[in-house]
Symmetry: C2
Subunit: 428 residues, 2 copies
């Protein structure tokens, strides 16, 4: 495996039973799903374990769950698909899955309690070890946006200071590496890490932990609400987050993985989803050092399952009966075209214009809110982008570091105050 | 089926994997457990579903879980064992199991939210319906001490007023009856219903809902702490709770089921457990209209499983490798002897002495605390019992109701103030 670029894949949402499929595991059903995914021209999938099902008791990591997961990875291999696995689910599509041994009468902080942290580490180590020898295993993500559990608005908030968050992250990534030393392991963050100055998980951690810098791009983060789902800011949200993540990277050459992006209704109507996908991908793939894109998601959620937020039902590239949806055809066509172009030598060019991000003390990033949709930094970046500048992001601490700027090919450094924002006029 | 008395059984705790056995269901392992239970001379078991496993999504009640449960009931039938099933687990041995669709971002009150209540009712109805035609199916309990979720000390308390608690209970029992109209359905309460004046679930509900009045007797409720585990008050706790429950019954002839009783360490040492069991059963079986006793539990909890309270590991009549423990031999011998005596015509005699329980407004029972270990009512009853009086309990509202007293064979009515408590002297 190498960090070669231009990878396209999907977040695998099983067509039968959603992630509850682990409870009624049916390898033939998985194979049918993977056939349809492979037929779209995808080269990898992201797979999600269900934590309470895999580890119902702290010292019971179920061999059958590990075997079922191994079967999924092997079935993917038969179809030419690589697999990255998220362990601590944790959070999926509005539902939280946490085992009884961490909850209620047994509740202790999910990020700091030594017993719980040991249990989590044992779990991630076991999954990684069980897959380490499979050639198509890419590696682990700790858990899908696991830091949501520390969010200020979480109903059972488990607070973590930046120091505690970073220690937890280091412990978890070390456990993955112990299990599978040669694989790539990551953490994944949601908006609060980038937009909420109180959040213990920091954007800078992306640059210090993990093999790649992962980005989750969801226009329902207020971008669509402010500017419309089929607006340039929505099409460019992934690009913006990728360049912001790059700004935070200690190593400018660290690859970036657009690990989640999707076309959520009602912000994007069914008739617009293909166009949304194509435009989003065009902008995202114009970023350097992008390892790849993993669309959310492979399949729609079965309407027989209740209580999902409405938008979650229709995010699939495929219907539950394996029909390719327009957005599936669009992502598929884009992927094939992009691979061909890469093969012909095309590559995203460096960005010579950088916007300076000043969040205050960069070890705590208290002024992150300016990066959120509607924030001054967000609107300045979008204004530059809409004017055709192809902006990237540089941290204030590096804005005068000529070696850093040269390494990245940056020749023009602008500050938000330099930009006359035009974006406010675009607000709905 | 009839409400004949002298039934002996066990709460079935699977020897392999505890209740997580549903995730790795192995009918042969269950059969070995049931062989060992039947060999003790037991005639029934109480079986516990795992709610999040059986109903992971509100509209997904997994056919495979229902089929596995049916297999357990059928395997029990092959061994002459009847089966009562608890649905909403819910709470088991310190662990809470609640599905993701009721938690966290989806959290709504477990007793009052119409959508959640509908989901619970559908679940109980489905279990009951799936078992209704099996001749050895006794019926349902709603869930093991489910009202714990409304406790004032629960970390994620879901409050319920008495009116809300009673409506919920009625809805759940109706759902069970819709699924299995001819079976006996119950609810089960833990100490707070009897001892905590703020608790929304009331002792009087036992008399208005369910086919039998269920009693859970645990000396770790402060009885052992105050008087010692191998003390007369501990041996007589089940008897006391049975007579208290009878006092609350609208129908004095309503059968009572001692649904849970066990010998918890360290209050009862391993060497004392057999004697504790025999004495507890002698006292309990001296109560009228006792349908039966269901010991907690069939099997020890495997020490390979972590994080249980220490006492939970050693409650079994059998070890995890099916060896009969001394308390298993004692319960077995008692059951066989008691059945023989019943067959010869023996029966518990009416209790002619009643202690008056005045809890204030009986529709809310604000002064329930006097019934708790160490309380004035508890100590007065125990004082009478230790003096040989075989006391029962009559509510203050019925203490002058001569028809009620005559129906129960009560000829002497005493009030706690009439009793010179001797029990305080017994406190450790």
């Amino acid at each position: 495996m190498s960090h070669h670029q231009g990878r396209f894949g999907v977040n695998y949402t099983p067509s039968q039973g959603w992630f509850h499929h682990w409870l009624d595991f049916d390898l033939d059903a998985v194979r049918r799903d993977l056939d349809a995914i492979a037929a779209l021209g995808m080269d990898h999938i992201r797979v999600f374990a269900l934590w309470p099902h895999f580890q119902p008791n702290r010292t019971l990591i179920r061999p059958r769950s590990l075997a079922d997961l191994g079967s999924v990875v092997d079935a993917a291999a038969e179809r030419g698909l690589d697999v990255s696995v998220d362990g601590l689910q944790g959070h999926l599509s509005s539902f939280d899955f946490v085992p009884a041994w961490t909850q209620s009468w047994h509740q202790q902080n999910l990020f700091t309690d030594p017993t719980i942290v040991d249990g989590q580490a044992a779990y991630l180590r076991a999954i990684a070890a069980s897959l380490a020898d499979r050639p198509n295993f890419l590696g682990m993500s700790l858990g899908n946006e696991f830091s949501q559990f520390s969010s200020a608005i979480h109903p059972q908030r488990q607070p973590a200071t930046p120091r505690e968050a970073e220690r937890w992250m280091g412990t978890m990534l070390a456990a993955c590496a112990e299990g599978a030393p040669r694989a790539w392991h990551h953490h994944s963050e949601y908006d609060s890490a980038f937009f909420d100055g109180r959040h213990g998980f920091l954007p800078s951690m992306a640059s210090r932990h993990g093999s790649m810098n992962t980005v989750h791009s969801w226009i329902f983060n207020n971008t669509a609400q402010l500017y419309g789902g089929m607006s340039e800011p929505s099409f460019r949200l992934a690009e913006y987050l990728i360049e912001t993540a790059r700004g935070w990277s200690a190593d400018p050459a660290m690859p970036i993985w657009l690990q989640e992006v999707g076309a959520p209704s009602p912000h994007v109507g069914a008739g617009d989803a293909a166009e949304f996908a194509t435009k989003t991908l065009e902008y995202a793939l114009d970023c350097e050092n992008l390892w790849g894109v993993t669309w959310w998601s492979s399949h729609d959620v079965d309407r027989k399952l209740a209580d999902f937020p409405e938008l979650e039902y229709s995010l699939g590239l495929l219907t539950t009966d394996q029909t390719v949806k327009p957005q599936g055809a669009a992502v598929s066509a884009f992927a094939r075209g992009h691979r061909k172009a890469l093969h012909a030598g095309a590559a995203a060019q460096p960005r010579s214009t950088a916007l300076v991000l000043d969040v205050g003390d960069e070890s705590l990033a208290p002024h992150r809110a300016q990066c959120a949709p509607g924030g001054t930094f967000f609107e300045a970046w979008m204004t530059l982008a809409l004017a055709g500048a192809r902006p990237t992001v540089v941290l204030a601490s590096k804005a005068a570091d000529s070696a850093h700027l040269a390494e990245r090919g940056i020749t023009e450094v602008l500050r938000p105050a330099d930009i006359t924002p035009t974006l406010a006029a675009l607000r709905r």
